[in-house]
Symmetry: D5
Subunit: 94 residues, 10 copies
Amino acid sequence: MLFMVQMDVIVPHDVDQAAFDDLKAIEKARAEELQRSGKWRHLWRIAGQYANVSIFDVDDAGELHDIMMSLPLFPYMKVQVTALCKHPSALAEL
Amino acid sequence: MLFMVQMDVIVPHDVDQAAFDDLKAIEKARAEELQRSGKWRHLWRIAGQYANVSIFDVDDAGELHDIMMSLPLFPYMKVQVTALCKHPSALAEL
Amino acid sequence: MLFMVQMDVIVPHDVDQAAFDDLKAIEKARAEELQRSGKWRHLWRIAGQYANVSIFDVDDAGELHDIMMSLPLFPYMKVQVTALCKHPSALAEL
Amino acid sequence: MLFMVQMDVIVPHDVDQAAFDDLKAIEKARAEELQRSGKWRHLWRIAGQYANVSIFDVDDAGELHDIMMSLPLFPYMKVQVTALCKHPSALAEL
Amino acid sequence: MLFMVQMDVIVPHDVDQAAFDDLKAIEKARAEELQRSGKWRHLWRIAGQYANVSIFDVDDAGELHDIMMSLPLFPYMKVQVTALCKHPSALAEL
Amino acid sequence: MLFMVQMDVIVPHDVDQAAFDDLKAIEKARAEELQRSGKWRHLWRIAGQYANVSIFDVDDAGELHDIMMSLPLFPYMKVQVTALCKHPSALAEL
Amino acid sequence: MLFMVQMDVIVPHDVDQAAFDDLKAIEKARAEELQRSGKWRHLWRIAGQYANVSIFDVDDAGELHDIMMSLPLFPYMKVQVTALCKHPSALAEL
Amino acid sequence: MLFMVQMDVIVPHDVDQAAFDDLKAIEKARAEELQRSGKWRHLWRIAGQYANVSIFDVDDAGELHDIMMSLPLFPYMKVQVTALCKHPSALAEL
Amino acid sequence: MLFMVQMDVIVPHDVDQAAFDDLKAIEKARAEELQRSGKWRHLWRIAGQYANVSIFDVDDAGELHDIMMSLPLFPYMKVQVTALCKHPSALAEL
Amino acid sequence: MLFMVQMDVIVPHDVDQAAFDDLKAIEKARAEELQRSGKWRHLWRIAGQYANVSIFDVDDAGELHDIMMSLPLFPYMKVQVTALCKHPSALAEL
């Protein structure tokens, strides 16, 4: 099942920058691992924003939730979730 | 260049249904043609809505605009455009 | 998989009332059929509004979309969809 | 009487994590107790969010308020309350 | 139980004015009857708007809903409902 | 003259709790005094929220402003003010 | 007592233009009469919009409401009302 | 003086298309005339929308208003106006 | 040229109260000076809010900006600016 | 390709003013360098706000993103991006 997720990262101004950079490195490794597994199918940067648009291919909403909770930057994110399905005019399968 | 476009179709209640169905058939053919050309890269239905999320791969904003104007249902759409670029954690190329 | 759906019905002021009443009767029959099948698990009226909050138990977002499209009042609805999953403090299974 | 309540938990970035974990444990016990009493009838996680949708079955708005005030995480919540009643097409009693 | 209800009346520009005036007369009679019964406890005009703020004293949300549905102008209203309860600093009973 | 005022209290997470409790006690005394004087005609809790809906009966907007400024919790409030007048269908005087 | 009122005029596209022009002429005469009486103290056009910002000097909210109801274009207006009072740094009296 | 104006054109679904096309031709001629005069300094299409972003160089807000009123499509526009001035880091004069 | 400016002052909860009181005193002196100069033509308090509505009479948007930047409380303000011009039904000159 | 970018700068109240002034000086130098290169084609102040409207002329969304990331004040900005293209009534080339 596909979900579109938009993640806006809000960095507190008084964050410990070194600790935050550590989180970002772990986040990057986790994102790459999830992409290789096929769960995180697309990952795009929104131009001019500290934000991304992503497409997840998961078994159900529970798996999506577990993935989001496993992201170390989740506590700093504003998240919007949209459930997708096949469009009648789409040539590709889901 | 990639753009995410969300299209919400609003059908007027007093629309001429036969004429509207004709437009939908032309829209479907146009969408399939644009997908085959590689310009309309992804097309997903938003579950429970008369709406879609799409990814366009175009030369620039002008080409995107021309494509949107060529859609027969455009006059019935609420459209949101978001410019995308490569995410530093993305494995795939744009 | 569970989805919460909020449906607000907007009746055009110049609607053909008899035709609309027919749609409402079909809608009611369809809603009861879907409840009996277990797909439409809960259906509550929002007090003071021509609107409902519903919980659907479906295979995936595609099935939810097909159900929504099968509702005769769908063209008159503003719809919001929220994907649900198990809460760690919930006693009941999904 | 039924109320739908959506609770979004916002954790301050500089929270004392150990103290917050204590609150979460008390919250979980309180939620389970209220579910067993029948007052907190449904509790679902919103996928991808630190948020829930709940259905409360209470005597009146005063009892709902007292319950919400008794939740240790209430000071960290954004809360929306919607009063529900029986839908004419619902098969189940309230 | 008390509910605050805000009603904004939106008159379509092409309304049949005589028929609408009839509805308004029935609405007025119904509002007065509900006030005399004690169900519609307060009714205030919002200055400069075709809108009111009202306090209803009803058994539960179901009764509130039935009252709202009985108002002939309901199809022309945008309605907001807020459940009220006793404030700890209030001198008066609910 | 009547004003409806909605007050949402936002408590900062790092507030000095003892000092805040002192403010709340003074606020309660002030609210009771204003109710006894007839200036604060109604005071209701919004169910599930740290918020109230109030009706003030004052000479003019200046007196309302002075009253609001005299509330010790004002600096922690989000305030909405609505001017009210007699509704043509209201049985009671203002 | 002073009120700031913002009025946005929305002209239906299928309006009878001659009848609407008649209303505008009556509105203009009424606005001038109210300015001469001192009730409509200021009237400014919002640049680029079919809208105005006005300051009314009235006895109370009831008089403001009666004035607004007396404007022939009121049925075509979106209206926002803000109650004003003396600012502690203002040199002029209200 | 510079103003940024965003114009979103909303075409009613039952518009007389030939009459509307006439308006568009006049609008285009008027826009070109205002550009040649230097009053309409920049005119850009918003990609994917029937909308534009414009920069006007006018004597004051009154002249801007007169220009907007002279556009034949103004009755079909949603308009936002933003007053601009010199930025301390800008190399160019206004 | 006239601008309407609405200023909402947001006081941080951990502000140094004595330093803030000093700013308020300077702000008051500056506001009075600008009123005497004729630049700050009207200044009204919004009832029940730490906010004001003001009318400025300035040469252009640049002068308005310089005035706003000269206000010591500007860093604590949410500001909305609206450009005004003569209304065709206004009796007074701008 | 042209993008309109609106940047609203939000300065935290407890910022280290000297460090922030350093950032502003670097930002100014960077803005001037980008203007000289032709990438930052227009830069205007929004009157009365700590905000600007800018037009960027870049190869694609990726270059826009890199430019935004290179601005030292980016972490303090709320950013809105709008893709622009040639308007059919525009006399000038993009």
